[in-house]
Symmetry: C2
Subunit: 116 residues, 2 copies
């Protein structure tokens, strides 16, 4: 990921920078839905994601301050992911876009196949 972080043309540009990545918004969505999630739970919640991609996107979201990562020194290892305040506010800002997309799916008839 290109790690731009500015300079930006405008706000949307900045937001898109942080949110671009095949799984980012889906991860945000999943975390907003369930609160705290473990790695394997996210993996199961996002059908089709590879482990590499999931790690990568989570790390980037963490770097950008949207996701909080907490490691428990246990065996077997446990790592929990949750949204930060900024992540939650981003999700709220994404909500209208999600609604628009849902409307669009309805219009063009592209059904979702995966259970949420």
């Amino acid at each position: 990921m290109a790690a731009r972080r500015g300079p930006y043309f405008c706000g949307i540009d900045a937001a898109m920078d942080v949110v671009s990545g095949k799984w980012k918004v889906l991860i945000l969505w999943e975390l907003a839905d369930h609160g705290v999630r473990r790695f394997a739970q996210l993996r199961r919640g996002l059908p089709g994601v590879s482990e590499k991609m999931l790690v990568q996107q989570l790390r980037e979201l963490e770097e950008d301050g949207l996701v909080h990562r907490e490691v428990f020194a246990e065996v077997p290892p446990r790592v929990e992911y949750a949204l930060t305040d900024e992540g939650r506010s981003l999700n709220e800002a994404l909500a209208p876009l999600g609604a628009w997309g849902t409307e669009r799916i309805r219009r063009i008839g592209a059904e979702k196949v995966y259970a949420s």
Copy 2:
């Protein structure tokens, strides 16, 4: 561009599909700002965009029904671009995201360099 158009996990997924592309949201923004724009006007309004990319992104936005393209059989040729109703509604859905991005820019201090 991968031309997915479904199946989607959810609304955001669908919206992101339509909006992903380096210049798409900027084009939408520009058209929302000025109403009708000609090719060269858009080009000048988006510093750094190449002609190829601008054509490509405009065509995709047109295919997705967000932008209306009207060709006038004149010489020199004239082509006008404008948002469709769906494009306008997408822009409205993007507004909160834009606001979030602006807030974020303020927080992390990544200044925009280009005049809007």
